[in-house]
């Protein structure tokens, strides 16, 4: 009896004397993400490696469904005061997250937990999408992609067209000639298809040609911004696509990627514009024809095209947790940014590495020699220093705005509206959304 009491006293004594870490359970860090199937496995593996690399923290990753569902789960959890530490949010939700008043900005988190990070070592075109107007990083980029152009090499060969360069973009006029030849010679039923028409044909098109998508530096500098996509350049681009649709040089395959992709796979279209994530999808499809990728076309007038912009998601740190937990979050985020993790992520998923270090490391190891397709997107993203216009978009109710753009473009493709009418209307309707958003957050 006496002995056991002595033992308890002794044990308590040890606990008090030594740092809490010895007796305490490791601190749990919750991460809610939208990565499923193959990508989910890669995420699980990264988490496992982090948990094995140290004993202070345990990261628990939970898949909460697709992007919409993850954001909604985060919102609901925050209202119930049961929010995770890290929430993965798609790029169009950036403004909503920034304005939410519920986040711990990543640059602040890193500074306050003593992590000195050389942000200039990151891919600027990726980082700039998630910065505030003063250049502070608000969330940690996680999965980033950008659109490129895939083409059917077998059809090109048949038509006697040379393969395209992987670094120097062709012009839209050249693409027009190429698709005309392919269609006129009966080699392909249609010229080009595009996935994600708003993202690729308007958002990226604007960034590449350095024309503003919205006022106030694309919304970075104020909630009172307005859409500007009814400018002459974008209008003439949509007019061109409409003309092409008439002689089959362009074919509309749907808002997302599934329709356009199946047109390309079925060889109904020779050129297909989609995110770099298409590389993995096309490889998996085991196509019976040869295909390759090139940067998106640019206008002949654009001598030095800007960078394209990214799509994907970033990791937001939510408010309301203890300092100790935030130290764990910071440790985990820096762990994710290491070369090993970045190159693992890039190789397995095709999403970009977020640091230049990781990119150069992969380059030195000859990865890009073996996988030349992967360089197309990265080079396109890095070919220029992002300007205020090409760094990204910061719009409230961006989801609704994309829906509006999709709707109006579809009315162009099916002949109900002229390009000018549709774009004017898209601007007017989007501005109403922007005003409601502004009204919601104005003090």
């Amino acid at each position: 009896m006496k002995l056991s009491r002595l033992f308890v006293v002794f044990a308590v004594g040890i606990c008090l004397a030594l740092p809490a870490a010895v007796c305490a359970e490791p601190v749990t860090i919750n991460w809610w993400h939208a990565m499923r199937s193959a990508r989910g496995k890669v995420v699980d593996e990264m988490i496992k490696q982090f948990n094995q690399s140290q004993s202070e923290y345990v990261v628990v990753g939970t898949n909460k469904g697709n992007y919409d569902e993850v954001l909604n789960a985060g919102v609901a959890a925050f209202r119930a005061k049961k929010q995770p530490h890290i929430l993965q949010v798609f790029e169009v939700g950036t403004q909503t997250m920034m304005m939410s008043g519920s986040i711990y900005p990543v640059h602040k988190l890193m500074a306050e937990t003593g992590h000195k990070i050389d942000w200039s070592n990151y891919l600027q075109a990726v980082l700039s999408y998630y910065m505030d107007a003063d250049g502070n990083l608000m969330s940690m980029p996680f999965n980033s992609s950008t659109p490129i152009m895939y083409y059917n090499v077998s059809m090109f060969e048949k038509a006697g067209i040379k393969p395209l360069s992987k670094t120097d973009p062709i012009t839209w006029d050249e693409l027009g000639e190429i698709t005309k030849k392919l269609v006129d010679d009966g080699i392909s039923p249609a010229g080009m298809v595009t996935a994600w028409q708003s993202w690729i044909q308007i958002e990226n098109y604007s960034a590449i040609h350095n024309v503003p998508f919205a006022s106030k530096a694309n919304g970075y500098e104020g909630l009172d911004c307005e859409l500007m996509i009814n400018n002459p350049l974008v209008t003439s681009h949509i007019e061109r696509l409409k003309t092409w649709a008439k002689d089959k040089r362009f074919m509309y395959g749907g808002q997302k990627y599934q329709g356009p992709k199946s047109e390309f796979i079925a060889q109904n279209a020779a050129v297909y514009m989609d995110s770099v994530s298409g590389i993995a999808k096309l490889k998996k499809a085991n196509l019976e024809f040869k295909w390759d990728a090139a940067p998106l076309p640019v206008e002949a007038s654009m001598k030095s095209p800007q960078n394209s912009i990214i799509g994907g998601a970033s990791l937001w740190v939510l408010n309301g947790h203890s300092k100790k937990e935030y130290e764990g979050v910071a440790a985990f985020l820096s762990f994710l940014a290491t070369n090993e993790m970045q190159s693992y992520w890039h190789k397995e998923t095709g999403y970009f590495p977020i640091t230049l270090n990781a990119y150069n490391d992969l380059k030195a190891k000859g990865y890009y020699k073996e996988n030349p397709l992967q360089t197309v997107g990265i080079d396109q993203l890095n070919r220029a220093v992002p300007t205020k216009i090409s760094r990204g978009l910061r719009l409230g109710y961006f989801v609704q705005i994309r829906n509006i753009i999709n709707e109006e473009l579809e009315l162009v493709w099916n002949g109900k509206k002229s390009p000018k009418e549709a774009l004017d209307n898209a601007v007017a309707r989007s501005n109403i959304q922007l005003r409601t958003f502004e009204k919601t957050y104005k003090k």
């Binding site: 909503t96 329709g259 079925a266």
Partner: protein, 296 residues
């Protein structure tokens, strides 16, 4: 005389209906009230700030020509779905009500599609009717020479979602019409037949009037089905497109609220939707029910 049983204790009946009342209050009235309150607010999704804006959300809504178009789309769509699925349900029920050899088997097979979720039904029809990989669509374009393209043309998309939504509802209607038909006394029909009434005449003079209660019930159920449950079809098949041509009200509520996180507008839309369905149901009860004959 109708036999009535009464409770001796005054509390017991209330106690017995209490669970149902609680469930209704918690899961129907409370959320509905929350929605009503939210529709007068502008608030950020995280609930950090919200402010009272009166009818702002409603005014914005009714100033949007596309919202009015969406109401029209919803009405067209639900009338189309209800009439197609009820007409075919009745037709099949009348056919299956005859003396068939494998009656039980035929009926079971006809009920099957009801077990298919709307979203799955949508996917199935998409695989048949999609312009680039749909086998039926390829046939239509090749042999009929039609330009069938629901990805591009609003009318084709509307036809596609109407087919997908009606198809599974036919089974539901079939079950009720079948039950209704079996409840009709054979003697009436036989007597009419002896008097020389043609099958068509018999149907219109006897069967149809006696089916009116079923008909009325199904019309209410089908309208509600096409207003709400067809969400799965729209979501998997067209996502409201092309050009908003299949953007029915309930899908817009989802897009603005769940995806776009505009809770105020989404709540206002829910309130409008609720009012609309209440209005339609009241109209049905007031004007259609008068023509219903409940007893034979």
């Amino acid at each position: 005389m109708i036999k009535r049983s009464t409770y001796k204790s005054g509390y017991l009946p209330y106690l017995l209906i209490l669970p149902q009342i609680l469930v209704t209050l918690t899961f129907f009235y409370w959320p509905a009230l929350q929605g009503l309150i939210q529709s007068f607010l502008l608030s950020d999704p995280f609930g950090q700030s919200s402010k009272f804006v009166g009818f702002y959300n409603y005014i914005e809504l009714f100033q949007d020509p596309l919202y009015l178009k969406s109401i029209l789309t919803t009405l067209t769509f639900s009338i189309a779905v209800a009439s197609v699925s009820m007409a075919l349900g009745l037709f099949i029920a009348t056919m299956a009500n005859r003396a068939l050899r494998a009656t039980a088997l035929v009926r079971t097979l006809l009920i099957w599609p009801y077990a298919v979720a709307p979203a799955i039904s949508g996917i199935l029809w998409l695989f048949l009717l999609h312009p680039s990989y749909g086998i039926v669509a390829l046939g239509i374009n090749k042999w009929l020479g039609a330009d069938w393209n629901p990805v591009l043309h609003g009318r084709d998309a509307m036809i596609m979602v109407t087919i997908a939504s009606s198809w599974k509802q036919i089974s539901y209607n079939f079950v009720f019409f079948m039950a209704g038909l079996q409840a009709i006394p054979k003697s009436l029909i036989e007597a009419a037949a002896i008097d020389g009434a043609s099958p068509f005449k018999r149907f219109w003079a006897i069967t149809f009037p006696l089916l009116t209660p079923t008909f009325f019930f199904l019309s209410v159920m089908n309208i509600i089905y096409s207003f709400f449950e067809t969400f799965g079809v729209i979501h998997t098949v067209t996502q409201g497109g092309p050009g908003g041509s299949t953007n029915i009200l309930v899908y817009k509520v989802y897009q603005d609220g769940f995806v776009g996180l505009n809770l105020g507008s989404s709540s206002a839309q829910s309130v409008v939707l609720m009012s609309l369905i209440i209005l339609i149901t009241v109209l049905q009860f007031r004007y259609v029910e008068k023509k219903v004959q409940y007893t034979g």
